[in-house]
């Protein structure tokens, strides 16, 4: 080696890289092959229990999960059962969302393993139990964008993220599919998981399929992963997704969807290069079908579609009607395969999708979004969380994020569902504030937010049936009658936040 000393360097106090003189004795080269290294030097640990211990998880800490496995998820229950077994207490569960299959959490809440929950939504028995006052500490509801923003700016710090992944290499590059084979669990985009992995103190990948290094292109990067656990099963494919989301054949939903498409065209946003996001079921999905016909007829191509991507959107891409796809969550196998195989079907994180703190956030680039609702009230406030009986039964998702970001936000909803009115005087729970809700499309006509004067004029001029929202509410009331008020207690069981973390509404306990 060379002969010099550090004192010979001028301005050495400004040079931040100087530590000591190089010494070859400090280097020991690893001459093992890639194959050997994958076997011996990797982040895979023997068991979930070991991973938990290595992560340094303690009582009272915050753990997170994604919901890309929807109602076929095994991960949340698997991890919570293990943590309960290991004796953990007072944990904060910050799942991106929870569904019907997570009812086992009820026991963990009762036994003190879980102290509080943060989520986008709750359903089934767990939701009913919480509405009935199961928890002392209220559940905090956040939108996808709100959660991502809170995680990134430290308002919701995650200590350990437990992320299920259909494939992972020994160093942590994980994906929502298995690249080499068209089988196994496929969830496509891992957008919510990406965000958690990038910000959690420790990230544990739970997979049932270890692949060779590198699992590129990767959804989750190895540099964000600490430990990997291999298990036999991470989820139920049937509960995760279907082969292809089918369009509804329900004539009422089709009628509403067709009307929503006409609203899009009348709005002036239907131009070459426009961008849109549609929903994933019922009328909001069927809008895609009518949009397609119009795009073909008028030779209009979209610059991108955002979502919640379904096979029907992929069809539009394949027909050359949409240039790019931005995907935070893939809803069926067709979409998952497209994400895997098509460079222009880009996987995006929850933050990229909807964070309120980034100017370039994808939702801010939308011309049109079509959303559904449980209830809309006469101030255009939208409820997607609680039913007319006051029980929690939904999820915020990206509702307020997209409604805010889109140039025109359209809510498709039937006037009534059975005997339940969907246009009401006051929403049971306000999730998306009326100020960012533009057009309501029902099977009995359309209402346009009076703040959107130009938009309203365009829709009226196009000959579509426009009413005051009060008229629609009166129609609903006339049909079903005036309902008795739901009896609540004073106890707050849920705190509903807007995208920026401010509290927009409170959910109270149902009186039995």
């Amino acid at each position: 080696m060379r002969n010099f000393s550090l004192d010979q360097i001028p301005y050495s106090d400004e040079l931040t890289c100087l530590k000591d003189v190089f010494n070859a004795k400090n280097i020991i080269k690893n001459t093992r092959t890639l194959s050997e290294r994958e076997e011996l030097h990797n982040k895979i640990v023997g068991s979930l229990e070991e991973a938990v211990r290595l992560s340094g998880l303690k009582d009272g800490m915050t753990i997170s999960f994604h919901h890309h496995f929807r109602n076929g998820d095994y991960i949340v229950n698997l991890v919570m059962d293990k943590l309960a077994e290991m004796g953990f207490k007072h944990l904060v569960v910050a799942a991106s969302s929870l569904t019907d299959c997570h009812y086992p959490l009820i026991e963990h809440i009762k036994s003190g393993v879980i102290r509080r929950i943060e989520t986008s939504g709750l359903r089934g028995k767990l939701a009913e139990a919480i509405s009935g006052g199961l928890m002392d500490v209220p559940v905090v509801f956040r939108s996808h964008g709100g959660r991502a923003g809170a995680i990134e700016n430290g308002e919701l710090p995650i200590d350990v993220a437990f992320l299920g992944a259909p494939s992972c290499d020994p160093y942590g590059n994980a994906n929502g599919y298995i690249r080499d084979k068209d089988e196994g669990i496929m969830c496509g985009s891992m957008g919510y998981a990406k965000c958690d992995s990038q910000n959690a103190d420790k990230t544990i990948i739970i997979t049932n399929h270890i692949v060779h290094y590198p699992n590129a292109p990767f959804g989750i990067s190895e540099s964000d992963v600490d430990y990997i656990v291999k298990v036999d099963e991470i989820g139920d494919p049937a509960g995760i997704m279907s082969g292809a989301t089918r369009f509804t054949s329900n004539p009422k939903e089709l009628m509403i969807a067709e009307m929503a498409c006409k609203v899009i065209i009348a709005s002036g946003r239907f131009k070459d290069g426009f961008s849109f996001q549609t929903g994933t079921g019922g009328a909001s999905l069927a809008v895609t079908r009518f949009l397609r016909d119009m795009m073909r007829a008028k030779k209009i191509r979209a610059s991108f579609a955002l979502g919640g991507i379904t096979g029907s959107i992929v069809d539009l891409y394949e027909e050359g009607l949409v240039r790019k796809l931005l995907d935070v969550q893939s809803f069926d196998l067709k979409a998952a395969r497209s994400l895997r195989d098509n460079r222009f079907h880009q996987q995006i994180s929850a933050s990229y999708y909807a964070s309120p703190y980034n100017e370039g956030t994808a939702v801010n680039q939308l011309d049109v979004v079509v959303l559904s609702a449980l209830e809309v009230d006469c101030n255009y406030n939208v409820n997607v969380l609680t039913g007319s009986d006051g029980v929690i039964r939904g999820a915020i998702g990206g509702h307020p994020d997209t409604a805010y970001g889109a140039s025109v936000s359209i809510i498709v909803v039937p006037l009534t569902r059975g005997r339940i009115p969907c246009i009401v005087k006051e929403a049971g729970t306000i999730v998306t504030p009326g100020k960012i809700v533009d057009v309501i499309v029902t099977d009995h006509g359309i209402a346009v937010n009076p703040m959107r004067k130009n938009l309203r004029k365009r829709i009226v001029d196009s000959g579509l049936p426009v009413f005051e929202i009060e008229e629609l509410q009166q129609k609903a009331e006339k049909l079903v009658g005036i309902s008795d008020p739901i009896p609540y207690t004073d106890k707050v069981v849920g705190v509903v936040t807007y995208r920026d973390g401010t509290v927009i509404d409170l959910i109270r306990q149902i009186k039995e």
Partner: protein, 298 residues
């Protein structure tokens, strides 16, 4: 504007879900059925249901009909009482064989109008032929009563009566359709074609609608709201037809301004059938949204 009957949506009378939603679709007419779509043991239930629905629901914006059971049974008479008493609908007879059927029905309706203090003659009727005899008697049927607003053909039973089957091109219905149409025209009432049951065969449906429109029918029976748009589209007049019709109406206005008794357009005299046809074209154009109402009235 004359009542358009391009689409007549059939709704089973014992189905509360479908009855309460029938009004949201843009069909010109809705027909609640107490006959074929209701099982024998539920006839009373359907009667009560349709009666209550007619008395409560908002029925504006469409023409409502109720198909009652055959009058040769107490079912039919009870149906008439329950429905005529609501004062809101057109009575559609099931299988009409002869003018006698029309007259019998008329007599019952007259009695009910008297009993319930309803304006005599205000309850309208619609006939439906579904057999060889009915088709052959079409003209007598269609002209039997001033209460009649239209006559329909029911293909399934008709074709069975003929001892043949339905085919894609409908050649077996040719004569029946033509007879019904001619009868309708002779009587000055509407002609409504039969249902098309294969809801998923959009192309086949459109072909049939094109055919019956060309034959001269005023409308089609519909069994699923998804069929409505195709019919309205096909019945939309072309721009050429609309311009022609507007010219006729303009010529009439011109003649009125001049105080002339003779109306001429392009050197030709315009007589009543031409005028009525022009008006119908404009009505169809306005209903399809192709023409604005004000332009028509200007």
């Amino acid at each position: 504007m004359k009542q358009l009957r391009r689409t007549m949506l059939y709704v089973p009378g014992n189905n509360p879900g479908m009855i309460k939603d029938a009004g949201i679709y843009n069909a010109d007419c809705v027909m609640f059925d107490l006959e074929d779509s209701v099982s024998v043991v539920e006839k009373d239930a359907a009667r009560f249901l349709v009666n209550e629905a007619l008395r409560t629901l908002d029925l504006t914006g469409k023409e409502y009909l109720v198909r009652v059971n055959a009058l040769d049974s107490p079912l039919g008479i009870a149906d008439l009482e329950a429905i005529v008493s609501t004062r809101k609908v057109v009575i559609r007879l099931p299988k009409t064989e002869s003018a006698q059927d029309i007259l019998q029905c008329e007599r019952e309706i007259e009695r009910i109008e008297r009993e319930y203090n309803i304006e005599p003659g205000s309850t309208r009727m619609m006939a439906a032929v579904e057999s060889a005899a009915g088709v052959l008697n079409a003209k007598e049927i269609a002209t039997a009563s001033p209460r009649l607003i239209g006559i329909a053909i029911g293909a399934e039973d008709y074709v069975t009566d003929l001892k043949t089957t339905r085919s894609a091109n409908g050649v077996e219905l040719m004569f029946g359709r033509s007879m019904v149409l001619l009868a309708a025209r002779a009587a000055g009432i509407d002609a409504i074609d039969t249902v098309y049951s294969d809801v998923n065969n959009e192309e086949g449906f459109r072909e049939e609608v094109q055919l019956i429109k060309q034959l001269g029918f005023d409308g089609k029976s519909i069994i699923n709201p998804r069929q409505i748009n195709a019919v309205h589209e096909i019945f939309t007049p072309s721009l050429k037809e609309i311009d022609k019709a507007l010219a006729v109406i303009e010529a009439i206005k011109e003649a009125n301004r001049k105080g002339s008794g003779v109306i001429a357009l392009n050197g030709k005299m315009i007589d009543k059938p031409v005028v009525m046809r022009a008006q119908r074209t404009i009505d169809l154009a306005v209903a399809s949204g192709v023409l604005e109402k004000e332009r028509e009235n200007a």
